[in-house]
Symmetry: C2
Subunit: 300 residues, 2 copies
């Protein structure tokens, strides 16, 4: 009997999405950071949809401060809207918690969600709560809508060979604390899509080693990276920068001729946040491959 | 230390929603079957948002056929869109499953979701998967968007004292099988809102004893019901009809003068599905009270 551990997360999703009706003409469907829905052709904006879940013992621990868990749950979703060039709007929060959970824990969780929505925008529109059996892990699932201006949406699948690859911030070592208190790159990506619109973009949630091949593959490209150029979190190795995951930095592709102008403008607008060229896209089949990064069902 | 069991589901939600930013002017926010968003005042439709979760051992068992679990997960959401007078559109599916789960189980779950979307409309727009630790219950969370024509939306909060209370179908005994294979009353409510628009409406998910006070309370009313009039599932008692939950029938309120016309028209259009007057709304503070129904954290 084949299990989820045997086939891994990406293969599972490939097998499942074919089993249900899908949008016959999606702006972007399963496989991008958000679903992109063209709900009204007369509207200047597209609807973005995203769902994301935190599981106790996997994404946080029983003694993690609940306010940080709430921040993380909401900020992961905000990061996905940022990765499309959009903004968050309406949030739905699903809690599956033990009846023995302290009311104060749930309240602090919600305060953390509120901290994030106050900082980045978005409002609570509804939710759902259920108990879990004794000993079961708590699950916090957040679904949200966002919006993006039609001309500013950036997918994963629209880069070309030759495009430069850049990342924001520093990679690796997120488990030391950044996975709980990271800053979604919302203002940065909103600036990018209006000033130097990337040809493709995504957030790095499972590690560059997992996510870069996803972006390149979606765009029908291969890739090469310069390991010596990777911007490292102090104390992290290049292997950690590739494999740790939960960086929540932005990976984007852009035409090579625009890179010098972008870097100069970026450093003037965001002097405290690095933007680093780490490699480029190449023809499909050329380039290198990466292994590592986080797979939920393989557990590594 | 107060726990979720101590305060119960409704009190928990009341305490949490005040801790995060909310829509300053919601068409309907937390507390109704769906959130109702007026995203574009020029659009003839309103956006509906809903999230709902199934937890193993609570909503289904390890040996429940996964295709039935998938149907139930999606049909619960469809039922909530029906309860607003709307229709389902885009679905996001979140799976939190053990790595030891058989791939075939996940595929059959998705086939069940697909069965429901094919019958009632709606398409898969995206999803998320995560592992859960060994021994933890599986959680399936579905979030979806829907739409409702602006003039057809029905809230819980807009009924008046004197309005008649009616329910579709038969109540009680859902655990025998109906909780897994129920039919969301989508075509019936879409007919209702265009032909005999109710003054308030909701679906009965936690039992009439729990849900009727919610509708009456949201409308600022009390209620009286005629226990001898309750339409019973064969083999069920009035107490089971009030308390079992997971009926997924529709409870609605309507001006009393319109009831005879509605009943005559209903029986012509839906000859196989009862529609039964069970009581009426009264002034707040008058009427009776009900206890029972399902509370997730109290576990009864």
């Amino acid at each position: 009997m084949k299990t989820l551990r045997d086939i891994g997360e990406d293969a599972l999703i490939d097998r499942l999405v074919g089993l249900v009706p899908r949008d016959p003409n999606p702006a972007a469907g399963p496989g991008d950071d958000c679903a992109v829905i063209d709900r009204d052709p007369k509207s200047p904006t597209l609807l973005l949809l995203k769902t994301d879940a935190l599981v106790e013992h996997i994404h946080f621990l029983p003694d993690t401060p609940p306010r940080a868990v709430g921040w993380k749950a909401a900020a992961r979703v905000v990061s996905d809207f940022a990765a499309m060039g959009g903004r968050p709007e309406y949030f739905l929060v699903t809690l599956a918690l033990s009846p023995e959970t302290a009311v104060a824990w749930a309240e602090d969780l919600y305060r953390g969600i509120g901290d994030c929505l106050e900082k980045f925008g978005g409002v609570l529109a509804g939710g759902e709560s259920s108990s879990v059996p004794p000993g079961s892990a708590a699950v916090i699932s957040i679904a949200a809508t966002g919006s993006v201006r039609r001309e500013q949406v950036v997918l994963r699948s629209t880069a070309k060979p030759g495009d430069a690859l850049l990342v924001t911030g520093r990679l690796g070592g997120s488990l030391q604390s950044k996975h709980l208190n990271f800053t979604p790159r919302l203002s940065e990506t909103n600036w990018l899509v209006s000033e130097y619109k990337p040809t493709a973009m995504m957030d790095i949630s499972d590690g560059l080693a997992k996510d870069l091949p996803r972006l390149a593959g979606a765009s029908g490209c291969g890739f090469v990276i310069d390991r010596t150029a990777l911007p490292l979190t102090p104390g992290s190795t290049p292997a950690q920068a590739l494999g740790d995951g939960e960086d929540f930095e932005i990976l984007c592709a852009i035409e090579p001729a625009r890179v010098p102008g972008l870097l100069a403008a970026w450093h003037a607008v965001f002097p405290d946040l690095p933007l680093t060229k780490i490699g480029e896209l190449v023809q499909s089949g050329a380039g290198e491959s990466l292994t590592g990064g986080w797979d939920h069902f393989a557990g590594h």
